[in-house]
Subunit: 165 residues, 4 copies
């Protein structure tokens, strides 16, 4: 008999972030792995992508990267399965479609586009210190969008969401 598929948690976030954000993403990735979930992100060797993948590997997990590139030159060494799309930011759509739940760490307009696409596609979205303000606040009570200040808070939220999926 085929086993049930692993849960895929998408972790979005900027390629250029500070050390605090990197540490938080590393910790989040580690907790995701320790819970037996697969980590999926944008796959590059910088920022939230690299840090969250590194954490997931430290936690003994599996990592999938959906790269905007057509070769591996800028792929994080912590990505097990690099999916090379060669389609730039149009791959953001694949990131959110392929994730059971999307977590948005601090980032710029790429991350904002992923939050927007995830909301549009009906995916649960958890903001980990991503502050969007007026444009997202009205959706905080929708049951689709959540805000947490710590990786631990995100993990508890994911567990609650998975109970209901």
């Amino acid at each position: 008999m085929t086993q049930p598929r692993p849960i895929i948690i998408g972790v979005m976030g900027g390629g250029s972030v500070g050390e605090t954000e990197r540490l938080s993403a590393y910790h989040l990735g580690k907790l995701i792995a320790e819970n037996g979930w697969v980590l999926l992100n944008g796959g590059r060797d910088t920022g939230i992508m690299d840090a969250s993948a590194k954490g997931a590997k430290a936690g003994g997990g599996m990592t999938v990267g959906i790269l905007p590139d057509s070769d591996l030159q800028e792929t994080s060494s912590h990505i097990d399965i690099p999916i090379l799309t060669g389609m730039g930011s149009a791959r953001n759509c694949i990131n959110v479609l392929s994730s059971n739940i999307v977590v948005a760490c601090p980032g710029g307009f790429g991350t904002l586009s992923e939050i927007a696409l995830a909301m549009k596609y009906g995916k649960p979205v958890i903001l980990l210190n991503f502050k969007a303000g007026e444009v997202l606040d009205p959706f905080m009570k929708s049951g689709q969008l959540f805000f947490h200040k710590t990786p631990e808070g995100v993990i508890t939220r994911i567990k609650n969401l998975l109970d209901g999926l």
Copy 2:
């Protein structure tokens, strides 16, 4: 000798909007056409897409639609050149890459993703009554992002931007 290419103005906005927003988009489309620019949008037969294309045709212009679909069933009858992508919201990226300037009318998360992608790709973005608040406000002084309340204001802004492109 080959003539210079026409300017392409991308008009983004929601598929489900009120009559006020439709009228504004119609008027914007008409003014775009009357200025000799090509109107590009998401191509569907609803909301801002349909209204802006209808306006552009009333103004004697040409309209290009970048459809998420792989057939013409939901294409606006006011689109001259339907580009069928068959790739859903991943086509939002093509919308902004193919536009010289992006105008965002009121809309939902699809429109927000297009604003975000346009900002990421360095395109000038003009908000026509699209209120984003905290997440976009810091960029209002960047020279890349603008807010206007009327189609006429948008057109004046486009002219100023084209002088500088």
Copy 3:
């Protein structure tokens, strides 16, 4: 009342071809334009793409290019409407979906992929001296795939097909 949309003829073919193939593509593009059809191709400034667009402009027509690139650097100067996809050869799918009829001039594996995708999507395909042999021959009697040796033959075939669409 909205006018009927123009017919879009997709012209596929290699980026590196000989002078005979360029001349044939130029002539084909010119005839497409003189018949009032829009020419759509891959948009680049080389080979069949550049030559067919040049011909279409000489014939007074309109040209649409679906570029693999995210900027205009390699776009043919004979393309009126450049659609920048930024998605490499994944854009081949858009080329065939957006064309009413696909014509394949001589080319390499990119062109072969477009023939295959067009056949898969049920589009009429006309080979203009593209020799595929065993893999395509069985479909020559299907009513979907045709072979012609001259641009004039292709044009006659398009007219027959349009009568039946």
Copy 4:
């Protein structure tokens, strides 16, 4: 220290094939898994896709499916990691870009497009009883394209190719 990434073998082939082809694909998938390689395919629950994934799971391996769909309804139950692209056959490009080596089992025009794209992108391509004839034969001596009649022959070829990659 980060471990080296697993080798990804892409297995392409038709959604509608006979029992002989299914058995061959099952056997190929099993051998791929037993050699410690990841199997990547188009992810659907039919034909070569389903059979090769089933074989890989029987061999204790991991399976990645690049789906044309935006939901899991038609995903093979033997796929561990479904990547939902929502972009139809434009995802064929991702299949070949993400594979270290591409194996083409019997199939139709979708499979032919993947062979063509893989050749274009410089990937090694092994035909397992996919007969293409005139259009591919000239490349059989290029060192990029190979033909084998059995899964065992394909596996030996992959090993030889991996020695040289």
